[in-house]
């Protein structure tokens, strides 16, 4: 379903972010990508979302090369992928409700659907009492749960979580990981990048380890270190 075909990314200053990376991810998988900072994890995700173009190689989603998509198909593709970032990236001038509604509006959903789904998904991440707050009024854990709700609301095929627990304390980290696990159990593919050994070990799912732009290990059993 997701296929990286011999992908390399070299930046104009000659620094190599990715080197000949090949792997595939099946539907409904939960995959963690681990490795030290600068290993290429974030570049990998940016290439998947077509925020950046690979220097060589190609990235496929289902049958199509994501870098060959037209503008319209690109927007449709991105709506099938829910994103969760380390720094939350909520829209600061919108309330919690509006942040989530915006994603649905962008996908062209009707007002009725929005009124029905937003409270539902906020209930799922246990934030029904913060509907009309602005992001600056939320704690880190709450903000991240809003971000997850936003990623979920369009019922995406894939959720990508880029270091989602990087700014969170252990309790909130645990909550976020539990939510991601629940999402995966309901049938959504989850791709998670993290430094956190504890998370990986507790998940027991597939782990792709990266170092200096290469995949050094792809382990079905799920340990941070082999």
């Amino acid at each position: 379903m997701i296929f990286f075909d011999r992908v390399s990314k070299v930046y104009p200053d000659e620094s190599v972010a990715l080197e000949n990376v090949t792997f595939s991810i099946e539907p409904k998988e939960f995959v963690s990508i681990v490795g030290p900072s600068g290993a290429g994890k974030t570049t990998l995700l940016k290439l998947f979302l077509a925020e950046e173009k690979p220097s060589t190689g190609a990235v496929f989603y289902e049958e199509s090369d994501v870098h060959a998509l037209g503008k319209k198909e690109m927007n449709e593709f991105r709506r099938k992928v829910g994103m969760v970032f380390q720094d939350f990236r909520l829209l600061p001038n919108k309330t919690v409700y509006e942040n989530i509604a915006f994603t649905m509006e962008a996908a062209g959903r009707s007002d009725e659907e929005i009124e029905q789904d937003v409270p539902h998904v906020l209930d799922l991440v246990d934030l029904s009492n913060k509907v009309w707050n602005f992001p600056r009024e939320l704690s880190g854990g709450e903000a991240q749960r809003v971000a997850i709700a936003r990623a979920l609301v369009n019922e995406p095929d894939v959720i990508i979580a880029d270091e989602p627990t990087g700014n969170l304390d252990p309790v909130n980290t645990y909550d976020v990981v539990q939510i991601l696990k629940k999402i995966n159990d309901l049938g959504t593919t989850v791709i998670l990048t993290t430094h956190n050994k504890g998370i990986i070990d507790s998940l027991g799912k597939r782990v792709i380890a990266m170092e200096r732009g290469r995949v050094i290990r792809d382990d079905r059993s799920g340990k941070y270190f082999a």
Binding site: E51, N93, E105
Partner: protein, 313 residues
């Protein structure tokens, strides 16, 4: 939903978001509106300065006339004959006749404070002045043909000799031409200056709006990543730009009320008959249309141009 319904829903959402963003970014909005007000004031200035210069040009043109002075010995019948023929010319608006005695009386009155001239007149014993015909044309450009008519043989007396002493058109012509050239030059210079100022302040307004969008650049990339289309991201920013323009336009128009009222005394003294306040009130709709339309265009275009850069993701 049908395509049309979807379009209307999206339009409604874009406009609503625009209003929310304008209101929630209060400080930024205030700054942008103030900068925009400067721009729109300069644009308003173009309209006012044009009107002031036009009025003074018209005023000057109304002051132009031709005086035909006859030789003292000219017969009144000949003069009245010329007057009649002048009146029959299509270019001529009004001809007034002043007899020798009236001319003398006017001359004495003008020099009432100058005893030496009056004494010299007394010494002469007889009236040295000729009768005068004062001619006003319908349009200043027609004086030349009126003067030409007088210069040609049409105005000879019955005896075949000329009875016209002098025609002051040719003396005044140079001064009049110079003055109108001066006003025209001032008009053009003023226009160029205001256009220059307008361009500068437009660039400043554009940059201010660009900054407000720069602040939102992370937001824009997030919108992109959740799959929002270009129009859907751009729309609210354009709406905000339009709101800046309308609000700044209305405030500028309100601000012009006390300013022109205060200036009206100055302009009325300086330019006889021109009251900038009543000019503003009389031409309010036109000025309001120009200023608000300029505001809307500057706001919308700045937003569209500024946001393009951040939509490439």
């Amino acid at each position: 939903m049908s395509t049309k319904e979807m379009f209307l829903t999206k339009l409604k959402r874009v406009i609503r978001t625009g209003f929310f963003n304008f209101w929630r970014n209060g400080t930024v909005s205030l700054a942008s509106v103030l900068v925009m007000m400067v721009t729109l004031s300069v644009i308003g200035l173009i309209s006012f300065s044009g009107a002031i210069l036009d009025t003074s040009l018209v005023e000057l043109k109304n002051k132009i006339d031709i005086n035909v002075t006859f030789v003292p010995g000219a017969a009144e019948a000949d003069i009245l004959n010329i007057k009649q023929r002048l009146e029959s010319l299509p270019e001529v608006f009004l001809v007034t006749y002043a007899t020798r005695e009236e001319t003398l009386a006017a001359f004495k009155e003008r020099h009432a404070n100058d005893p030496s001239i009056l004494a010299a007149l007394d010494e002469l014993g007889e009236n040295p002045l000729g009768a005068v015909l004062n001619i006003k044309a319908r349009d200043p450009s027609q004086y030349a043909s009126v003067a030409e008519f007088l210069e040609s043989g049409n105005t000879l007396s019955s005896g075949g000799i000329t009875i016209i002493d002098r025609i002051n058109y040719f003396q005044n012509k140079t001064a009049i031409d110079k003055l109108s050239a001066l006003i025209n030059a001032a008009d053009r210079l003023g226009f160029a200056l205001t256009v220059f100022l307008a361009v500068i302040s437009m660039i400043i307004a554009f940059n201010t709006i660009r900054l407000t969008i720069y602040i939102a650049k992370d937001e824009i990339s997030v919108m992109r990543l959740v799959g929002a289309s270009t129009a859907y991201i751009q729309g609210p920013f354009v709406v905000v730009g339009v709101i800046y323009g309308v609000v700044a336009g209305v405030l500028t128009l309100l601000l012009f009320l006390p300013i022109t009222y205060w200036l009206s005394k100055v302009t009325e003294n300086f330019l006889i008959g021109f009251n900038i306040f009543s000019y503003y009130l009389h031409n309010f709709l036109e000025i309001a249309f120009t200023i608000i339309l300029s505001g809307v265009l500057i706001g919308a275009l700045s937003s569209i141009l500024a946001i393009r850069k951040y939509l490439k993701v």
